[in-house]
Symmetry: C2
Subunit: 122 residues, 2 copies
């Protein structure tokens, strides 16, 4: 008799897996956390500000990531009618909810680095 392909498919587990998949999809890519983290510190930022603050990002990537996140309603884009036109990006309420996640990620990364330093460092 063949072994059953799965043992652990409770509805709870399935929902959890789906939630994780969602989160990973929405927050995927190299830059989103850095952009969101910067917006958490500064409230409203223009395109060129972000380009300077998020170290290493190219305008093309920044533009694409901002569009992604606007579509997913994490940020808003507002065109301001100044002399040279300016654009303001800001977090939405939904966008602000990533703060604990980013905190957790940062603290995990920090703790991990610290733990390895104590064990293997030299």
């Amino acid at each position: 008799m063949k072994k059953q392909p799965v043992c652990n498919i409770t509805t709870q587990c399935q929902a959890r897996i789906l939630a994780i998949k969602d989160a990973m999809e929405i927050l995927s890519g190299k830059w989103k956390f850095h952009i969101l983290g910067t917006l958490l510190l500064n409230e409203k930022m223009r395109f060129m500000d972000l380009l300077r603050e998020v170290e290493g990002i190219a305008p093309k990537m920044l533009s694409k990531e901002l569009q992604d996140m606007e579509m997913n309603q994490l940020i808003t884009r507002t065109v301001i009618n100044t002399k040279p036109i300016t654009v303001e990006y800001a977090l939405t309420a939904a966008g602000r909810t990533v703060e604990p996640l980013i905190d957790e990620l940062a603290s995990w990364g920090g703790a991990y680095r610290h733990a390895l330093y104590n064990k293997k460092g030299r």
Copy 2:
């Protein structure tokens, strides 16, 4: 005068960015969270168990991700001398520390889905 390339490089920020980069690198990929989540539920699991539990993963990917995580000291691999040889995978103490992170990720994903459903659903 050119604008300064950066305004926000406090040492705190730099450390935070580094920690996030670390975490993303170590936990990168489509499968690590699912594997870790499964190991959180089951303590000790064999290769074929994981292959069955982590829905959709191919043996090649599972093997590779397990090796990655063993190198990063998140899991242990123990060969057991049974009739047909078996291998047990289990979380290390460091591996168990991802639990809050996974919880946060899952709860964020769930909340996000819920929020969008209330706003745009239908």
